[in-house]
């Protein structure tokens, strides 16, 4: 009597994978496969695990689904997963890195950083005296010494609001993928929740 010995297949999953629109994902894209039998290795590599989408978004492939798909396609194997259980998929189209818009964006960020960092330093020298540093900057630009120049302080106030909004808000974009990215506050909330859960678990374990 001959016992059927299943071939051992080891699969090492990546944690992250970026894929184009309307492109299917195969095992060989997201994982490394180790197996003694070359033909099985080749078969496993060509298993389709994700059907491409025509919309930019984030998605994930759970590890158990990958095992299920491979077991359906290839017989007589044992699968051992190494590495993370899930894969984060980033579905995105070709990015247009050229053009005037990109240049304007970079110029805008540079402008904000240039004057902002400069003003922050001047403010520091002036003992965090905002009106004093504003008057200093106003004098530098116009050459007129004026107390409380409203032409600078009103835009400064509005700009502060804009900056806060830019920092906290989620991104407004046509692409679903960009809108799925969390803002910093949401990230902080998630980390805080996680810390609390860890703490509770730790307390429970002690008793």
């Amino acid at each position: 009597m001959i016992a059927i010995v299943n071939e051992q297949v080891y699969i090492k999953l990546d944690t992250k994978y970026a894929v184009d629109l309307n492109t299917h994902v195969y095992v060989e894209d997201v994982a490394e496969v180790y197996c003694k039998d070359e033909s099985i290795k080749k078969k496993v590599k060509r298993v389709k695990i994700y059907t491409g989408r025509d919309e930019e978004s984030y998605d994930y492939i759970p590890g158990d689904k990958i095992i299920k798909k491979i077991l359906e396609a290839v017989d007589n194997i044992d699968i051992n997963l190494i590495g993370g259980p899930d894969i984060l998929l980033e579905i995105k189209g070709r990015e247009d890195s050229s053009g005037i818009l990109q240049f304007l964006k970079i110029a805008f960020v540079m402008l904000v950083l240039f004057f902002g960092a400069g003003a922050a330093l001047i403010n520091f020298y002036e003992d965090v005296n905002m009106s004093g540093s504003i008057e200093k900057i106003y004098y530098f630009i116009t050459g007129v010494k004026k107390e409380n120049p409203l032409i600078m302080t009103i835009p400064l106030s509005i700009g502060t609001g804009l900056g806060m909004f830019a920092f906290f808000s989620r991104i407004f974009s046509l692409s679903k993928r960009r809108r799925q990215e969390p803002g910093p506050l949401e990230m902080e909330l998630y980390l805080y929740d996680k810390d609390i859960e860890d703490n509770i678990l730790n307390d429970l374990k002690k008793n």
Binding site: I106, V109, L111, L113, A120, N148, G159, T160, G163, M164
Partner: protein, 132 residues
């Protein structure tokens, strides 16, 4: 002269460390999708700090139109807004409040009121408080 030089080095590295801690530049890069230009942004901050020190300690003036100062003030304001909110975020106040009041899905209203309050407070300070 050596004393002031070392003082400058201390101030410069402290300012750079502070900016790095607040993660303003990464946030701006995430918003504008320009991660590849990080070197450019670094040099911008370095050059800007140098010129700011120079402007502060000299009596030099450009004698330009005052409308240029309006644009510059908006840029400074945006940076300060990012700065203030990054600082508030590092201090971890809002997550605690949101947790306490179970207001996870009303987060956008909290942010909205924060922004609104900031602008109103700043305008009050400059227009009414400073006048009297």
């Amino acid at each position: 002269m050596f004393l002031s030089f070392s003082a400058g080095i201390t101030i410069g590295s402290a300012a750079a460390a502070f900016l790095t801690l607040l993660r303003i530049v990464p946030r701006l890069m995430q918003l504008t999708k320009t991660k590849s230009r990080i070197k450019l942004y670094e040099y911008t901050i370095v050059v800007s700090s140098f010129f700011a020190s120079l402007i502060y300690f000299t009596d030099f003036s450009l004698n330009a139109s005052k409308y240029i100062s309006l644009l510059i003030a908006i840029a400074i304001g945006i940076f300060y807004g990012l700065f203030a909110s990054a600082l508030a975020e590092v201090l971890n106040v809002i997550p605690v409040f949101v947790k306490k009041f179970k207001a996870k899905h009303q987060l956008k209203y909290i942010i909205g009121s924060l922004v609104f309050g900031k602008v109103v407070g700043a305008l009050y300070y400059w227009l009414i408080f400073k006048k009297s």
